[in-house]
Structures are given as C-alpha cells and as structure tokens.
C-alpha cells in the first residue's frame, strides 16, 4: 500500500557536494552485529570492526554505542543537520553532541540500530568510517577558515582533499594508534601544535616563484602525557604536503609502539627518538617516496571560488530584542569580508536537541550566504557569511529555540568531555559540571568582563584529556578524593594552558572538590583582579605568574594554591552530605570504570 506523502518544497540552498558515506558499510555492519550476537565472531575482532566504523561502546555496556560522525573540516549542510536530528530522535536520546573535534556524536544507540544510523547518514552523504579506532581521525579545519582576517589563504580545500586521499586508504587501516591532523587558518584559531600533524597556511617561494604552502608541526597531542608539536621545516610547499603527510604516516605505521597502547601515539615515538632524528627520518622518507613513486601524488584541491548566494534581506528594520548587544559582543566575529559576520552558538557541553538542530538548519538556509554550518573546536557550531544587518533577526530566531545564550567566545563557554554520562573510563561527571559552571557564569555575566574574554575553562572526567583541560587557562580533570572512609569527586586543577603560537600545557596547581569548582574559579578571578596590572587579562596574568614574573603579591602558583586552601577544604559527611555526591547523582560517590576503547 502506498503511503501518504508530502512533496518537499524545492529550494536553492547549497547541498553537500561530496558523498563521504557508503551504504554497503551500513549493510555490512548489520551483518557483523548478527554474526557477533550469534557468537560467530569474537569480541575483539568485532570491537575493531565496530570502532573502524565509528561506534564506541558505552559506559558499563557494549549493548549501546556512541556513534561518532566524521565531518571533514567540520562542514555540515542543513539537510544533513535535519537527518542527524531525525536519527537522534529515532535511535538515540533526542539530543546530539558536538565534539571538540568538529564532529557530532550520538549516544546510547542500541548496537542493533547502529547500521540504521549509518544507513541514514550515508543517504545524506555522511560517514562514520574511521571516526574512531586506530585510523586517521576526522581532519579538522578552523571554523574561521576562509573568513579569518589573519589567514594567508583558505585551508579548507586542503583539509577536504587530504580526507579524500586518506579515507578508506589501505595505508591507514591498521595504524599503531589513532592519528590526528588539523588545519588552521592562522596561529590563533586552531590547534596546530597539539596534534600528530598540524598545518598553518603560509605564503612562500619555490624557485623564485611565490607559492602556497604550510608550516607543518609534528608530534604534538593531548593525553595522559601531552606534548607540543615541532615544526618540520621553515616552509612546506603545497606540492609537498601530501608527500609529507604520507611519509609521516608510513613512519608511524612502521615504528609506532604496537606493544604498549599507552605509549603508542606518535608523540611518544617522537619523544623517545628525539626530534632531530625523527625530523631526518621524515625528510628522508619523503625524498624516497618522491623518487620511488612512479605517479605524482598531489592533493586534489578544489580551488573554484564559491559564488555566494544572494540572501534576501527584508527591508523592515527589526526591533532589537533584549540582550542583543551582549550577545553580539560575545558570540559574533567580523569576517575579513566587509559586511559579514560569523555567529557562534553557545551550547552546553556541546549538547543540542533535535528540534534545535532543525532550527539551526532553517537559520542557515535563511541567513548564511554559503548555506552551510561548521562545527567548531569547542563543542560549538558556527554560521558564517551572515550579513551584519541580519544579526538582530538571527538573534531573535535563536532566542525562540533557546540557543541565544551569550558567552560563546568567552570564558563563560566551558568545554566538558562525556565523563560518566557515557564514557567507560570516567571518574567524574565532567559533562554536567561544565554545564553547571557555564550556567553560573552566564548568570554572573562573566562574559561581559573583558579581562576574562580570552581565557578558557575545560574539564575532563579523567586524566585522558578528551576535554582538553591541559590547554585551558583553568583546566580540570576528574578523580576521586577521600576523607576517612568517605569518597568524594575531586578534580585536579591546572592553570595557564594555551593552544596558540605560544602553546603551553597547563601547570598543575591544586586539587578541587567537584562541588567547589565554581567557588574556586571565582576566587581565582578575585585574586587575579587584585593582583593584575592594568590592561592585563587573566590568561596573560597566569602566564606571567608561571614564568616567574609574578607580583606584587602573587609570585607563583603556590601562592594561589595557598589562598585557595579555605575554598577547597573537605567538610565531613555530617556537615555537608551533598559534597560527597557528584553532579547528577544523589547517592554517595564511588569510582567505577570499565575497559576504555580509546586504545582499541
């Protein structure tokens, strides 16, 4: 029997150009789940397969998956957002999560339904392939690429080209460990030094002719032990970029530590071998590949200039809604193209409901000249190419769906990894804590304080750094504390991390009970205010203290630690029972972890 159907209205909105998905992979996944359930393939083989296709196990159970999409360069189109909204409502929890690596994640999907989600994604040109597991993860690109005033050229086509070459490439199907590549627009916006390969656009010269190229950084990365990347050479021309990437991956594939998962990331190889030796190896490998390969391999870079849509601007002047000025200041960014702005959405720990996704899709259709959305680096989403005169209207639309919170580009926007909401290794509910801190700080209008604008707060639920706490001005990772026989959730706090051209990992300062994190941050702000030089921002003040140039009163992190002592002291359970329960739980705190799959 035929079903009643509504014809979808035609529109002139740009649709996805590249189909990253493969329907066969969805079908194969469904077959594999059946075989696994029938005991015909063993758990480890199945796990490897599952991870290769973007599905993690969930906290304390393999019967549910966290599905991670692979969105190269974080690009996503309205129709794709609507598909994600539907899939989340049908098979997940009705909310999706935007990750720190520009992807969407769908939590608590029944293993039996993963294939349906993959099918739906493939129908809209999306994939989860090599989003997890020991593969080249989604290649990131600054959400400001193409519009950043400080960039030399738009790196997006290079990130997309590199994905085209590497995705499903036999070269990277069984690496010793995951492998991350980031492109950024400029020194400030992105994380070129905190990944396996980071690339920043640069103009150079080859044989006297001007040529595009990159600064290439190798061997950085966050984790239980973090390292800052090293620059390979002064200038890597665009013709050499793919050779360079392939050389690095081949060396890692050959020499990476396959015995000890905890030491398997390339940064450990670089560290153990020493940078100069590694650097030589890469340069030699590259020369050899160039000599031996009979075909020239080059990034397929689509340099056609996008023609921007004319978007209708209605002539009526909108009434400016309450809160608009505050929002414009903290959530928009002026593009290098005059008259256009980027709009950043403040999500809570990256979570967004299906209905909000649909609203975001509509707003992109109506107000962005490029008709797309990009996910950012801080669990956020970005509209680009919005006309300045349309900003009040965009704000009103966002207000209607609860997405007009201010603070996106300020310290009030907090990153929190999944923590105990879904991750097997979590010790604390970092996800909820990040939401609590953000709500409080927006309420306190922290986003309006220019001294705090450039600073960041990031929270991980264990030392593994998924919440990137080590590059935060104020970073936390979860653990357990104990008073007598009673356990309570306790974070380790580090200060002074940054991810720009002076990339530094945070310095450990003190331990902070979960329920004291908010007062602790407020106390730090208070100390900073009384100690800062005029015009100095929080992140620069912390930097100065760490570099030993502190004063007048605060000379070192120990001085801060001393002043925080009364804030972080643990009461007894009789005095304060709530102190002993983590956010989101009423019961007493206990730590419980399962097998982590980051290494699988």
């Amino acid at each position: 029997m035929s079903n009643t159907s509504i014809q979808s209205k035609p529109d002139n909105v740009p649709k996805h150009k590249i189909n990253w998905g493969r329907l066969e992979e969805a079908e194969r996944f469904s077959e594999m789940v059946k075989l696994f359930r029938q005991g015909k393939i063993n758990r480890d083989d199945f796990r490897r397969f599952r991870l290769q296709h973007g599905a993690y196990g969930s906290r304390m159970t393999d019967d549910y998956s966290m599905i991670r999409l692979k969105l190269p360069a974080g690009e996503v189109y309205s129709e794709q957002l609507e598909k994600i909204a539907d899939l989340s409502e049908q098979f997940s929890i009705g909310s999706a999560h935007v990750s720190t690596r520009q992807n969407f994640q769908l939590h608590w999907v029944a293993l039996e339904d993963v294939s349906e989600v993959l099918r739906g994604l493939a129908e809209s040109g999306m994939t989860t392939r090599e989003a997890c597991g020991n593969s080249v993860r989604s290649i990131m690109c600054s959400p400001l690429a193409g519009v950043c005033p400080d960039e030399v050229f738009d790196p997006t086509p290079y990130a997309v080209g590199a994905t085209k070459f590497l995705l499903r490439n036999p070269l990277c199907q069984a690496l010793p460990r995951k492998f991350k590549i980031n492109f950024t627009c400029c020194e400030k916006h992105g994380m070129a030094r905190m990944v396996d390969i980071g690339l920043i656009p640069q103009q150079g010269e080859v044989n006297g002719k001007p040529q595009r190229g990159f600064k290439v950084f190798l061997g950085g990365g966050l984790g239980a032990q973090s390292f800052v990347g090293h620059q390979l050479e002064p200038f890597t021309s665009e013709d050499e970029v793919l050779y360079t990437i392939v050389s690095v991956i081949r060396i890692f594939d050959r020499l990476g530590n396959r015995e000890n998962m905890a030491r398997a990331r390339m940064r450990y190889l670089v560290n153990e071998m020493g940078w100069e030796k590694f650097q030589n190896l890469v340069l030699k490998e590259r020369a050899m590949i160039k000599m031996l390969l009979s075909v020239i391999i080059k990034l397929e870079v689509d340099k056609t200039v996008e023609s921007m849509r004319k978007i209708s601007i209605s002539s009526e002047i909108p009434s400016v809604p309450q809160g608009y000025a505050r929002w414009v200041k903290s959530n928009t960014f002026k593009q290098k193209q005059p008259g256009f702005s980027c709009v950043f959405l403040t999500l809570e720990s990256g979570d967004v409901t299906s209905n909000q996704l649909r609203a975001i899709a509509d707003i992109a259709r109506e107000f962005t000249a490029d008709g797309q959305i990009r996910n950012g680096f801080t669990q956020d989403m970005v509209f680009r190419w919005v006309r300045d005169e349309d900003l009040p209207r965009v704000y009103s639309k966002l207000l209607e769906v609860g997405l007009a919170n201010p603070g996106a580009l300020t310290m009030a926007s907090v990153v929190g990894c999944s923590g105990t909401t879904s991750c097997n290794l979590a010790l604390t509910n970092s996800h909820r804590l990040a939401k609590e801190v953000q709500r409080k700080f927006i309420e306190l209008k922290i986003d309006e304080d220019d001294d705090l604008r450039n600073s960041t707060i990031k929270i991980s639920g264990c030392p593994n750094s998924c919440g990137q706490h080590e590059i935060a001005t104020i970073g936390f990772y979860g653990g357990g504390g104990r008073l007598g026989k009673d356990m309570y959730p306790l974070y380790s706090m580090s200060l002074g991390g940054r991810a720009d051209e002076t990339t530094t990992l945070g310095h450990s300062c003190t331990k902070v009970p979960a329920k004291r994190v908010i007062p602790t941050i407020l106390k730090i702000v208070e100390i900073f205010k009384s100690d800062k030089k005029s015009g100095e921002t929080l992140d620069l003040w912390v930097k100065r203290v760490i570099e030993g140039n502190g004063g007048p009163t605060i000379k070192s992190l120990d001085d801060i630690k001393e002043l925080l002592k009364p804030v972080v002291i643990a009461p007894t359970k009789d005095q304060d029972e709530d102190f002993y329960a983590d956010y989101g739980s009423d019961g007493s705190y206990h730590t419980k972890t399962g097998r982590g799959e980051c290494a699988a």
């Binding site: 509504i6 906290r59 809570e348 939401k435």
Partner: protein
C-alpha cells in the same frame, strides 16, 4: 505468503487518498481521538469525536461496546482512527475496538496535523449518528496482564518497551528490549514503510512468529503504536500490556536499570 489475504481484510493503515474516497462513498466510520475543543475547531469530514480521556475514563468492554453502537459501528463496519499524537492515541483506541471483537479497524497513516498541511478537506460539522448493534467477542489473545508477563517471558516471549531511550535506561521491566516509538515513524507517516520496519526487527534477530508483548509508560498508547507496527509486518502473535509500566511499578514488581551512568545529563532538553 499467507499474510497477504489477511492484510486485505485487516489493513493496519489507510492512506489519505483511500480514506477520502471511502468517506465519499460513506463506506467507513472515522474516529477522531483528539480533545473535544480541537475537534470542534475542525476535523476530517464525517469524523466522530472520541477523546482518549473519555475512553480511558472507563474502557471496560461494555462501555466500549456502547460507544461503538452509539457511533453506528456494526460488526462489519470499517473504522479508521486518527489523532494528532504520532498515531499513538489512535492506536490505543483501535486496539480497544479490536479487543471487543471489532475486526475491521485501521489507522490513518498520517496525523491530523499532516492532513491539514497537505491541504486536505476539513469540516467543523458534527455528524449525526444512528445507533446500531455490535456483538461482543472478546479477544484475550491480544491482551497481556501483569501476571501473564513473567511466565510468557520464560516461555520465550519478547517484551518490548516503546518508551524513549532515556526513560528505558532509567527503569524498565526486567529483560525488556527497547524499541522507542520514534523509531517506528518515518517522515510524515505514523509508521515506516514495511521493508524498513522489517529490517529493524530483523536487526534485532526477532523471528516473525515470535510472541511479542509491547508496553509503555502508562496507558498503552505508545505501545499501541508498537503493537500496530508489528502487526503491519504480518506478525500475529502480538499482545499489548495495556496497563503498562505504571501498573507494574504500582504493583512493586522488580525493575531493571542501566546503572552507574549519568545519561540524563547528555540531554539538552
């Protein structure tokens, strides 16, 4: 397939065009399950209002029989039911009619909201009805009670929880599997096309001849939709635990939970 002839006599869903032509020939009774106020503002022409709350106030077979008779529904009258709530309320009413022995009852495959979006005709006229006779032939094989669940499960019946994922994770009847009602719909249709639904069931390794019992949070609406989704695949051995989880909890029966995870904190609601 033996299912085919059966599908002809009891169609699970009816599409809008078919219903319109049946309304024109006056060969069908249409029931609107929305609230009275909504109904009064406009409904499918000829539809009779039976708000779910009225039915639930007393859904004893005698009372349901009285409703059917007063609406002019005879033993052979085709009935089509619709609502504006995913088809879940309509399902509950359709199931209730089925339970008293009315065979020819179907769901409109779209909600009233979609019907209007399609620009199809509506009316605010309240139809007159002529009382008729209907026999009472209870169908206990489509009803599950709390006492029935555990022994049935032990004999291999599959218990299906049609609530949303987070509610299920938080608490459910031990051993139940979760098929959230949202999974059953597609686009504007209250049920997915059969081949889609069949795949979802096959992915879960559920054999077509399994005994299945559906339940949901309180009164058997979402699980009513679950019931009809399975029926649409020609699965015959399906029962509705109509008093659902609300009763189960009030009886203080055992409850299972996904422990040690704060999944609620992932919701942006």
């Amino acid at each position: 397939m033996c299912g085919l002839s059966k599908e002809k006599t009891t169609r699970v869903t009816v599409d809008a065009d078919k219903l319109r032509s049946e309304i024109r020939d006056k060969s069908v009774k249409v029931l609107d399950i929305r609230k009275e106020d909504d109904y009064k503002q406009g409904h499918i022409p000829g539809a009779i209002n039976l708000p779910l709350a009225s039915l639930l106030a007393d859904d004893s077979p005698d009372k349901v029989l009285q409703y059917a008779q007063s609406f002019g529904i005879g033993d052979e009258t085709p009935v089509v039911v619709y609502d504006d709530t995913f088809g879940a309320l309509a399902s509950r009413v359709a199931w209730t009619l089925e339970y008293i022995g009315h065979e020819d009852v179907s769901l409109l495959d779209v909600t009233y909201g979609t019907w209007k979006k399609l620009g199809l005709e509506t009316s605010s006229e309240i139809p007159s009805t002529v009382k008729t006779n209907h026999s009472l032939k209870l169908q206990p094989q489509i009803l599950a009670t709390s006492d029935y669940l555990v022994p049935a499960k032990e004999k291999g019946a599959i218990l299906v929880d049609n609530r949303e994922r987070l509610n299920y994770l938080e608490q459910h009847i031990p051993g139940a599997i979760n098929i959230p009602y949202r999974m059953l719909a597609s686009g504007q249709n209250i049920l997915r096309p059969k081949e889609d639904l069949r795949r979802l069931i096959q992915n879960r390794n559920i054999a077509p001849d399994s005994e299945i019992i559906t339940y949901c949070g309180s009164v058997g609406t979402l699980s009513g939709l679950g019931y009809y989704a399975l029926k649409s695949l020609g699965m015959d051995n399906v029962k509705l635990y109509v008093r659902s989880f609300k009763e189960w909890k009030s009886l203080e029966k055992p409850i299972e939970k996904q422990n040690d995870a704060n999944y609620w904190d992932l919701s942006a609601e």
